[in-house]
């Protein structure tokens, strides 16, 4: 009977491990929504999401987060425009063109990129990208472009690794079929192999969007952080994440609740992105 006990005991251990992460996400959900929703109800859903004024120290206070929502969307869009083409082409190069020797250097380099703390990226952007942008566009150099460049770099490892895996997973028979028709290596890759990896590539882009929209500590250093409606890509913006970090330390009462509600909105954004990811995945499996 001893063996049986060990078995069920270990089963229990495994179950607890598996459930831990689910409990964590549930607690997070409860905390964020319990903290945020009452405030949103009180302040008004429309006023909160579509309000263009964020002035917590005014009397009366105003808590419109549209500036931050737009700020997040702008820098994320910029990051996608910059990071996705570079990342995708890099992935194609790694999977189908690079020599084995070069790959041995490139691949660990990209893995390393994924492991660098975001504050280090932010600091790099602050001392390298900000001065360049300041010289080119004038102003403080802390604006949408800077933040987009930085985030574009930061999402590269996600785009590259997942797209590369997707491209490598395409059956070699597609490539052979194309080559056997007299198509060149390049033509076969771009017309047959990469399109066949489409859903994996789209998944990588969706995850990259999630990463960009959630990034905080790096963005805070270079985005300018002005809590106002965005006025152009050479002007500063504040994102949902930075809004919380900047003000949480001293916020109280309604202000504090407004920040938690901001987190709830961010959470919904991430849920939507992950939902899209799942839909793309499922469609792939059906094919």
């Amino acid at each position: 009977m001893k063996g049986n006990f060990t078995e069920s005991f270990m089963k229990g251990i495994f179950l607890i491990c598996a459930v831990t992460s689910i409990i964590a996400i549930l607690l997070m959900c409860i905390f964020i929504f319990a903290g945020g929703i009452p405030f949103i109800q009180e302040y008004g859903f429309k006023n909160f999401l579509l309000g263009t004024e964020w002035k917590p120290s005014n009397i009366p206070q105003s808590f419109g987060i549209l500036p931050m929502i737009l700020g997040s969307i702008y820098v994320t869009l910029g990051a996608v425009i910059i990071g996705v083409p570079i990342g995708l082409l890099t992935a194609i190069y790694l999977a189908k063109f690079s020599s084995k020797r070069l790959y041995r250097f490139l691949k660990p380099g990209i893995n390393l990129m994924a492991g660098i703390p975001s504050i280090v990226y932010g600091f790099f952007a602050l001392v390298v990208i900000v001065p360049i942008i300041r010289d080119v566009f004038g102003g403080t150099g802390m604006n949408v472009i800077t933040a987009s460049l930085l985030l574009g770099i930061m999402i590269l490892p996600t785009v590259i690794s997942m797209s590369e895996a997707a491209i490598r997973a395409v059956p070699n028979s597609y490539y052979e079929g194309s080559i056997a028709l007299g198509a060149t290596h390049e033509k076969s890759i771009f017309s047959v192999v990469v399109p066949a990896a489409k859903s994996g590539i789209i998944s990588s882009i969706i995850l990259a969007i999630g990463r960009a929209i959630g990034e905080t500590m790096a963005v805070i250093l270079v985005a300018g952080n002005q809590a106002r409606m965005p006025v152009g890509i050479t002007k500063g913006v504040r994102t949902l994440t930075t809004n919380i970090v900047i003000e949480m330390a001293y916020a109280a009462d309604a202000h504090r609740e407004a920040l938690i509600a901001t987190a709830a909105v961010l959470f919904v954004f991430i849920l939507i992105i992950n939902g899209a990811f799942l839909v793309v995945k499922r469609r792939t499996n059906l094919e």
Binding site: P171, Y174, G177, S178, I179, A180, G182, V192, A196, E287
Partner: protein
């Protein structure tokens, strides 16, 4: 009937690294005949086939000595365009490998690669190729359907149509029916018979009955050697080599 030699293989040796996979192959493949290559697994028959359109180039550490002439020109010669070679010498693979796109785009892919953009001409080529591959009637109403959503036998005929769309002179078939059921196999065999009017066909097969049924010439290979190469009826009725006889009578293999 005296037909021209379409492909001539001269003193050909092939090595994978240190492994001597094909040993001194000499073979003349006649135009507009069906030539079958038979032999047990690992005898080098697929390797030989893939040398004819240089698909072996994709394998690292592979080395070829000797010559393979297509219409008298060395396909491994320096001035021979390998992409043009593969247009002239088409290939059908063991497992049907249509691209994961529509049937129409599968067939139009090759012509597009070779510069045909005109929609009307592409339509014509697609219809003609699908008719040649005897699958037009089955798919003509579903040309936009993803080619992976049809049966394996249909997929293989789509692959044959795809190969025919670039108007090759030679068609290489690497065990084209080994992944198919008997009915699909019969359809493909019938199709191969039809195609030999216009194309030189080289088919690798595991299946001796298939070789006997469809081919005009048969080559028997064993451990990298071309043991015997003759008219199919002679190979199967009066084999000259003891090893051929043993193989076709089922004593090994």
């Amino acid at each position: 009937m005296n037909r021209k030699d379409k492909i001539v293989i001269k003193d050909m040796d092939l090595y994978y690294g240190d492994f001597h996979a094909l040993k001194n192959i000499n073979m003349k493949i006649k135009e507009k005949y069906i030539t079958a290559i038979i032999g047990p697994s690992g005898c080098g028959k697929s390797t030989l086939l893939k040398s004819l359109n240089r698909m072996n180039d994709l394998i690292e550490g592979l080395r070829i000595e000797g010559n393979i002439l297509l219409d008298g020109k060395d396909i491994y010669g320096e001035d021979f365009d390998v992409n043009l070679l593969r247009k002239r010498v088409g290939m059908v693979f063991q497992r049907p490998n249509p691209f994961p796109i529509s049937i129409y785009d599968n067939i139009a892919y090759g012509p597009r690669v070779h510069g045909i953009r005109d929609k009307k001409r592409l339509d014509e080529i697609v219809e003609r190729s699908l008719r040649l591959a005897a699958i037009w009637d089955e798919v003509k109403d579903n040309l936009k359907k993803n080619a992976l959503r049809i049966s394996g036998g249909q997929q293989q005929r789509i692959c044959i149509a795809r190969a025919l769309a670039v108007e090759p002179e030679v068609l290489l078939m690497d065990e084209p029916t080994s992944a198919l059921d008997p009915i699909s196999t019969a359809k493909i065999e019938e199709l191969i018979e039809e195609l030999k009017r216009d194309y030189t066909i080289v088919i690798v097969t595991h299946n001796m009955q298939q070789a006997a049924r469809v081919s005009d010439y048969t080559a028997f290979m064993l451990k990298g050697d071309l043991v015997e190469y003759d008219k199919t009826e002679d190979i199967f009725s009066v084999p000259k080599d003891k090893r051929t006889e043993d193989y076709i009578t089922g004593r090994f293999g």
